[in-house]
C-alpha cells in the first residue's frame, strides 16, 4: 500500500491521530505509519479489545479482555454490547432488555442509566471506558500521549447516537476530530489498497448493526452516493436465536429455566457464539454447555442454522435495494461488493449478497479489521499525512421540522452530501411574542410521531413586534460528522438570535463536562488501581482453571512432586492476592503458570482427542 500514500513528513511533530473502530462486540485502534495503516495490539498481543466494561463493588473499573473474564463471575456488573443503547431512551430498548441482565435506573427517559451495583452509568460513560482502554494501548505501543482520534460509527446512526459517541470520546480524554461511517472507512482501506476508480458497494453486518453504502471512487475521492441500514440488526440477533433454542432444550432436559441466571446466560452465550463461528467452516457442530455439573449438548447442522437465521439475513436485503435505488446506479454498474463485519463470514450471508448484487463479494480483507484500518487512513487525511484522498459522505436520514397538525416538513433529504444546510424563516403568531419553539426530527415518514425526535430549539428574546412581523432565519447545518448545528439571526436587524437547544435524547453539555472532570480527577488513582485489579482478574482466571484441572484425569497422571509444586504455587498466589503490589501478584501468577505447564499440555492433548471424537459424523 505504501506507494499510494503521499506522505508529508513535516506533519509528524504535531501529534498522532489514531483511528478507532468502536464496535458492538469488539473495538480496535489503528494508526498510520510509513507503510500504511496498522492495528495496535493490546498488552496481551491481541488486536481485538472486547467492548466489555466491568464495574467492581469497590468502585474500580476494568475494560476489554480483563472485563470479559468477569462477564461470567459478575454478570450483573459487567456490560457488553452497550453500543446498542447509545443515544437511546428507556422506552426504545424494551425488547432489548430481555437479553441484557441489567436493571435500568430511574430517570432513563432521555438517557439510559444502567444500575450497576450502587452506580448508575450512561452508555457514553461505559463506552468511554472501552475508548480509554484503546487509548492506553495506543500510548503504550507508540510511546507518546494520544489525545486525538477518529471514531467510526454505523452509517445509519442518527444524530443522538452520533452525539453520544462523540461524548464518549470526550469523557475518555480524546478530542474526536471526526466521526466516520463504518462502511465508508472500510471503503477507504479497500479503495487505497485495491481499486482507485469505479462503483463499490460496502455490505457491513457487524455484531449489532447493519449498513449498506454505495460509493463512487474517483481518483482518490470517495463519494458516498447512498447509504441505508438498520441499527438494530447483527450477529447478536443470530446469537439470540440460538440462545432461545438452547433455553428451551435446557428447560426440557434439566427441568429448569436458566434464562434468569446471569452466569448461566453468559456461559451459554459464549458456547453458542463458538458454535456459530464454527458453522461458517464446517457443516455440523455442537453447542457444548457445562454448568454446575450439568451438561447440555446440541448438534446443529449448517442447514438447520441457515433456516434459523434466514429471515435475519433477508432483513438486510430491503435496505440494500433501497440503497441501490437511492444511489441512482443500476446493479450492473456496481463493480464490487466489499464485505465488512464478522457476521459476513457466514456462508448464507455471502450467498444472499451474491444473489442480490449479481457479483461475487470480496472477502479477502479481514472483516474485523478493515474499519479500524480505514479510520486510521482518515486520521492520516485529517493530520495531513495522506494528501490525495478525500471522503465525501452523506446523511443517512432526512431532517425535518414539525409543522401544523403533527406533519413533517423536510429540510435536508437523506443521502445529501454533508456538510449540508437549509435555511428556513420563522415568524411569530401573536403580537409581542418573545419565543418560538422549533421541533426538529429525523426520519423518512410524513408524521412527526413516526419520526425520531432530535431536539427542540427555542428562539429566545425575540424583539416584541406585531404578529407575523418578526422574521427569524434559522440555519440548519449538518456537519461532516453528521451532527446537526443550528444558528439563527433576526433578518430585520441582522443580529444573531439566541437559540436554546433541548436534545430529546442524550446528555446535556453540562453533564458531559461533569463526566470529563470526574474522569480526569480519577485518572491518576485509577492507573495503579487498574493494574492491581487486572492482575487479580488474571489471578482469578488461572486459579479457577487450576481448580477445574484438579478434576481432570490428567491430574491423576501427574507425579506427586508435580502436584505438590502446583499446590504450593496456588498457595503462594493466594497469599499475595490481596496485596496492592501488582508486580508481586503477576510474579506469582507466572510461577503458577510454569508449575502447571505439564498439566496443561497433558490436558490439551486429551482435549484434542475428545474434540476429534466429537466432530466425527
Amino acid at each position: 500500500m505504501s506507494q499510494v500514500f503521499d506522505i508529508d513528513f513535516g506533519n509528524h511533530r504535531k501529534g498522532r491521530v489514531v483511528g478507532i473502530d468502536l464496535g458492538t462486540t469488539n473495538s480496535l485502534v489503528a494508526f498510520l505509519d510509513l507503510t500504511g495503516p496498522k492495528i495496535i495490539p493490546g498488552a496481551d498481543g491481541g488486536l481485538l479489545v472486547p467492548s466489555i466494561v466491568s464495574y467492581a463493588e469497590d468502585g474500580g473499573v476494568t475494560a476489554g479482555n480483563a472485563a470479559r473474564r468477569l462477564l461470567i463471575n459478575q454478570p450483573d456488573r459487567t456490560v457488553y454490547s452497550v453500543k446498542r443503547l447509545m443515544g437511546k431512551g428507556a422506552s426504545d430498548v424494551k425488547d432489548e432488555l430481555k437479553f441484557f441482565p441489567f436493571r435500568i435506573a430511574e430517570g432513563s427517559e432521555s438517557v439510559i442509566r444502567l444500575q450497576l451495583g450502587a452506580k448508575a452509568m450512561t452508555p457514553p460513560e461505559i463506552s468511554a471506558q472501552v475508548l480509554a482502554e484503546l487509548k492506553r494501548n495506543a500510548e503504550a505501543y507508540l510511546g507518546e500521549p494520544v489525545t486525538q482520534a477518529v471514531i467510526t460509527v454505523p452509517a445509519y446512526f442518527n444524530d443522538a447516537q452520533r452525539q453520544a459517541t462523540k461524548d464518549a470520546g470526550r469523557i475518555a480524554g480524546l478530542e474526536v476530530l471526526r466521526l466516520v461511517n463504518e462502511p465508508t472507512a472500510a471503503s477507504l482501506a479497500y479503495g487505497l489498497d485495491k481499486r482507485r476508480n469505479g462503483i463499490v458497494a460496502v455490505y457491513d453486518l457487524g455484531g449489532g448493526t447493519f449498513d449498506i453504502s454505495i460509493l463512487r471512487l474517483h481518483d482518490g475521492i470517495f463519494e458516498v452516493l447512498a447509504t441505508n441500514g438498520d441499527t438494530h440488526l447483527g450477529g447478536d440477533d443470530i446469537d439470540n436465536r440460538l440462545m432461545h433454542i438452547a433455553f428451551e432444550d435446557i428447560a426440557a432436559e434439566w427441568g429448569e429455566d436458566i434464562s434468569h441466571s446471569g452466569e448461566a446466560v453468559q456461559t451459554l452465550r459464549q458456547a453458542v457464539i463458538a458454535a456459530k463461528e464454527r458453522l461458517s467452516y464446517v457443516p455440523l457442530t455442537r453447542i457444548e454447555f457445562d454448568f454446575r455439573g450439568k451438561t447440555y449438548r446440541r448438534e446443529i447442522t449448517q442447514e438447520l442454522f441457515e433456516g434459523l437465521i434466514k429471515d435475519i439475513v433477508d432483513r438486510t436485503l430491503g435496505p440494500c435495494r433501497q440503497c441501490i435505488a437511492d444511489s441512482r446506479v443500476s446493479i450492473e454498474e456496481i463493480d464490487e461488493v466489499v464485505m465488512v463485519g464478522g457476521s459476513t463470514r457466514i456462508p448464507l450471508v455471502r450467498k444472499a449478497v451474491e444473489a442480490l448484487f449479481k457479483a461475487k463479494p470480496h472477502t479477502e480483507l479481514n472483516p474485523d479489521e478493515v474499519v479500524a484500518l480505514g479510520a486510521a487512513v482518515q486520521a492520516g487525511i485529517l493530520s495531513g499525512e495522506v494528501g490525495d484522498a478525500l471522503l465525501l459522505d452523506v446523511t443517512p436520514l432526512s431532517l425535518g421540522i414539525e409543522t401544523m397538525g403533527g406533519m413533517v416538513s423536510k429540510l435536508i433529504h437523506r443521502n445529501s452530501t454533508i456538510p449540508a444546510s437549509a435555511t428556513e424563516a420563522f415568524t411569530t403568531a401573536v403580537d409581542g411574542q418573545r419565543n418560538v419553539l422549533i421541533h426538529v426530527v429525523q426520519g423518512e415518514r410524513e408524521l412527526v410521531k413516526d419520526c425520531r425526535s432530535l431536539a427542540r430549539f427555542e428562539l429566545k428574546d425575540i424583539a416584541p413586534v406585531p404578529a407575523g412581523a418578526a422574521r427569524i432565519e434559522v440555519r440548519f447545518l449538518i456537519d461532516a460528522n453528521g451532527i446537526l448545528n443550528v444558528s439563527a439571526r433576526d433578518a430585520r436587524t441582522g443580529k444573531e438570535q439566541s437559540v436554546e437547544v433541548k436534545p430529546s435524547y442524550g446528555l446535556s453539555e453540562e453533564q458531559v463536562e461533569a463526566m470529563i472532570l470526574e474522569s480526569v480527577e480519577k485518572a491518576e488513582d485509577d492507573f495503579h488501581e487498574r493494574q492491581v485489579r487486572e492482575a487479580r482478574v488474571e489471578a482469578d482466571a488461572i486459579l479457577a482453571a487450576t481448580e477445574k484441572a484438579r478434576a481432570n484425569e490428567a491430574w491423576v497422571d501427574l507425579s506427586g512432586e508435580e502436584r505438590a509444586r502446583i499446590t504450593a504455587a496456588v498457595n503462594q498466589l493466594l497469599m499475595v492476592y490481596h496485596s496492592e503490589d501488582h508486580l508481586l501478584i503477576r510474579a506469582k501468577i507466572g510461577e503458577l503458570n510454569e508449575a502447571t505447564t505439564a498439566l496443561a499440555e497433558t490436558m490439551m492433548s486429551t482435549a484434542v482427542r475428545v474434540a476429534l471424537k466429537g466432530t466425527k459424523v
Binding site: 476530530l177 433501497q322 478525500l390 452530501t417 456538510p419 449540508a420 447545518l477 461532516a480
Partner: protein, 195 residues
C-alpha cells in the same frame, strides 16, 4: 475564496453559479459540473482544515455546505431550474405540484378509480394501472425533452417569457412525477422499494 495575499479561506459567496464559476443558465454540462465539484471539494472540505485556525475551519464548513447544497441543486435539471427561477423572482414550490393541470384531469380521475379498485382486491385493475404507468413514464420523458428545449432557448435568448413557460412545464412535470411515484407504490410488492 482564498485570500490572494495570505492564502487563508475567506467567507464564501452564496450564489451557486458564482461558487462553481459557471455561467448562469438552465442547460449545464454535467461532467464539467462534477469535475468542478470534486476540485472544489479537495480545496474546501473541512478535512483539509483540521489543523487550521478556528475561523478558517468555520469558513470551510460553511463553504462546503454551500458547495454541497449547490451541487445538489445544479446537477438535477429540475432543481436547477427551480433555483434559477427563484433567483429571478418567480414563485415556485412543492405546493404548486398539487394542483391538477387541466389537461390531466380526466386521466387522474380514471387513475384514482383504478387504484381504489386494486386496493379492494380488483386484480383486473392491475393491468389498467400498468398501462397508465407506461403512459406517465412516456409523458415524463416528453416533458423532459420539452424542458430541455426551453432551457436552451432561455440560455440563448435570456427571455423572461421563456422562464414563465419553464415554470408552468415544471409544475406539470412535478405533478406527473407524483403520479409516477404513486402508481409505483401501488404496483410494488409489499415492503420493496420501487426501482
Amino acid at each position: 475564496m482564498f485570500c490572494v495575499h495570505c492564502g487563508t479561506l475567506q467567507p464564501p459567496s452564496a450564489d451557486y453559479y458564482q461558487f462553481f464559476g459557471l455561467k448562469r443558465g438552465l442547460a449545464l454540462d454535467a461532467p464539467e459540473l462534477q469535475r468542478r465539484f470534486y476540485e472544489l471539494s479537495r480545496k474546501l472540505h473541512p478535512d483539509r482544515f483540521t489543523r487550521k485556525a478556528a475561523r478558517e475551519q468555520q469558513y470551510s464548513l460553511d463553504a462546503t455546505a454551500i458547495l454541497n447544497d449547490g451541487y445538489r441543486a445544479l446537477r438535477d435539471p429540475l432543481a436547477r431550474a427551480e433555483y434559477l427561477l427563484k433567483q429571478e423572482g418567480f414563485d415556485v414550490g412543492e405546493q404548486r405540484g398539487k394542483d391538477v393541470p387541466p389537461e390531466l384531469l380526466e386521466e387522474v380521475f380514471e387513475l384514482n378509480m383504478a387504484i381504489e379498485e386494486l386496493r379492494h382486491g380488483g386484480e383486473d385493475a392491475r393491468g389498467q394501472l400498468e398501462e397508465a404507468y407506461g403512459r406517465f413514464l412516456a409523458m415524463r420523458d416528453a416533458i423532459d425533452k420539452e424542458l430541455d428545449t426551453l432551457y436552451r432557448r432561455f440560455d440563448d435568448t435570456r427571455d423572461r417569457a421563456v422562464l414563465q413557460q419553464v415554470r408552468s412545464v415544471l409544475n406539470r412535470r412535478r405533478y406527473v412525477r407524483n403520479l409516477v411515484n404513486e402508481v409505483e407504490k401501488e404496483l410494488a410488492p409489499e415492503g420493496q422499494p420501487a426501482q
